[in-house]
């Protein structure tokens, strides 16, 4: 029965055609597609991985930035506090210095005033003494214009001297 007996002609053509098809597909068909698909798969997987990593990194960056912001806030507060302290210290220092300086100036002024005062007093005394002498001279001159009066005077003066002795 020809149904189950192999046929030479068909076998011949089958060999030729199938081998030709096989070599064409081997050279230009399946390996190209398989390589492309595997590469594409790898590429897609890689891209997905990268995207996931990028997302994670982004999340990390958010957290980090928040931490940095927090730190900056604390630092700012610290710096402000330090600045305030420094300012206070400087002001206090300046105040102290000003006080001391003021005191010194006042003291100097006082001393100067004292000196001036003393000089003035000395001057006044001198002038008073001079005036007194001049007045006394004038008085004396007037008093001692007569002989009697001169005698009285001498007597009184002598009295005074003796009394005081």
């Amino acid at each position: 029965m020809s149904l189950i007996t192999p046929d030479f002609g068909l076998f011949f053509w089958m060999t030729v055609v199938f081998l030709a098809v096989f070599f064409i597909l081997w050279k230009y068909g399946f390996p190209v597609i398989i390589k492309m698909e595997n590469d594409r798969k790898a590429f897609i997987d890689e891209s997905l991985k990268n995207a996931r990593e990028a997302n994670e990194r982004l999340a990390n960056i958010k957290i980090e930035s928040e931490a940095i912001l927090q730190e900056a806030h604390t630092k700012q507060a610290e710096i402000l506090k330090e600045a305030a302290a420094t300012r206070d210290a400087i002001v206090n220092d300046a105040k102290d210095k000003a006080n001391i300086e003021g005191a010194r100036i006042i003291e100097d002024a006082r001393q100067l005033i004292q000196k001036e005062k003393e000089a003035a007093i000395a001057d006044i005394r001198k002038q008073v003494a001079q005036l007194s002498v001049e007045v006394a001279e004038k008085i004396l001159r007037k008093e001692l214009s007569s002989e009697n009066k001169q005698m009285d005077m001498i007597a009184r003066l002598l009295d005074e001297v003796t009394v005081s002795k």
């Binding site: 020809s2 046929d7 002609g9 068909l10 053509w13 199938f18 597909l25 399946f30 398989i34 698909e37």
Partner: protein
């Protein structure tokens, strides 16, 4: 809906009457020769008898190429041979050549030498099945090379292919991953071109065999020559690439010594296993596809068998059977499409398994 069931049963009951009636109608004038139609469809032929139209046969005549020992190469057209055989079942052709057998049968080409008929030495005619082989191979090449061309023209980071290319990429990768790679592991790439060619060749030939008109309709995978060739390819690949462990396993397997020393029972069985495996591949594909074709044709032929019954009974039965036959044919077609895929898959998977077994290396402790 309530009436459908009894009607269906009635039709099925009538179906059981078919063989009897058909048997009676056989041999009558104008009767329907079921056997001839079926074998005319599934067997090879020198011409492609597509259909009968208005009483004339629509035939695609094909070239006949053969080599005769006495007169050398000859190329004829099959139309040069008579369509109907004579009383000795010989179809007369030019130059003293005859074709043995019926009009749609691929009989032997014989040559009248003197008064004796001598078969020609070899015959490589482009028969119906060979033409189907050519057509299917071209379709196969197109189906694979078009998606492959896309790969060459595109870079790795281009958007995914769409339409047919996308489908074929997906299909090829599904076969590659699920059948080839899952069986062969890291050796997959070495054998993938062969196994994928086998799969898609068988699948496309099967599928086009289901199509009932040209370019389909041929019966290539249901032809034992085709499956024999494919099985032979697998046989060669398996045994040529076989590892030393594979041959050792055959001739000096890991079985109790008394199974191999006085009488080499296991080596004998294993040795025959080498040949039985590809023969099983061959028969499985052949029988499945042939059966599919025969069933599909038989279901269609039932209609003609019924109408061939003379009288009113034939008309009634024929009308009834038409409905059943069309329904059954639809069912069988759908089933055949599934079988097309399954048989291609089974052949490829078993080939892959045989290759894996022959390439296997034992880890010696």
């Amino acid at each position: 809906m309530r009436f459908l069931q009894p009607i269906f049963f009635l039709i099925v009951m009538l179906l059981t009457a078919v063989p009897v009636q058909a048997g009676e109608s056989r041999g009558e004038k104008g009767g329907f020769d079921l056997k001839e139609v079926i074998f005319g469809h599934v067997q090879d032929a020198y011409q492609w008898h597509i259909t009968d139209f208005n009483g004339h046969a629509v035939v695609l005549h094909l070239p006949m190429i053969f080599y005769s020992q006495s007169t050398g190469f000859h190329v004829y057209c099959s139309s040069q041979f008579e369509h109907e055989p004579d009383a000795n079942l010989l179809r007369k052709g030019p130059d003293g050549f005859y074709i043995k057998g019926g009009h749609d049968e691929k009989g032997q080409v014989v040559e009248m030498v003197g008064s004796q008929l001598k078969p020609v030495m070899f015959d490589i005619s482009i028969t119906k099945t060979v033409l189907v082989l050519f057509i299917d191979s071209i379709i196969l090449l197109l189906c694979i090379l078009i998606p492959a061309r896309w790969c060459r023209k595109h870079k790795i980071d281009d958007p995914a292919p769409k339409g047919f290319t996308g489908l074929m990429h997906m299909f090829i990768m599904s076969v590659y991953e699920d059948i080839v790679k899952s069986t062969l592991g890291e050796k997959a790439d070495k054998y993938a071109p062969y196994l994928l060619t086998c799969f898609f060749f068988i699948f496309i030939v099967n599928l086009l065999g289901v199509v009932p008109f040209p370019p389909g309709g041929g019966n290539l995978t249901g032809n034992i020559t085709c499956t024999m060739f494919l099985a032979l390819c697998t046989f060669i690949v398996v045994n040529v690439t076989g590892s030393r462990d594979y041959w050792k396993e055959i001739f000096w397997g890991d079985v109790p010594w008394w199974l191999k020393v006085p009488v080499p029972l296991m080596p004998f069985i294993e040795f025959f296993g080498i040949f039985i495996k590809p023969v099983a591949l061959m028969i499985r594909l052949f029988a499945n596809m042939l059966a599919g074709h025969v069933i599909a044709i038989s279901l269609s032929c039932l209609i003609f068998v019924m109408f061939a019954i003379e009288g009113l009974l034939g008309q009634v039965l024929g009308s009834c059977i038409t409905v059943v036959s069309v329904l059954m044919s639809i069912f069988m077609m759908v089933l055949e499409v599934l079988v097309c895929y399954i048989q291609a898959m089974v052949f490829t998977m078993l080939s892959a398994v045989f290759i894996m077994m022959s390439n296997h290396k034992h880890e010696h402790s």
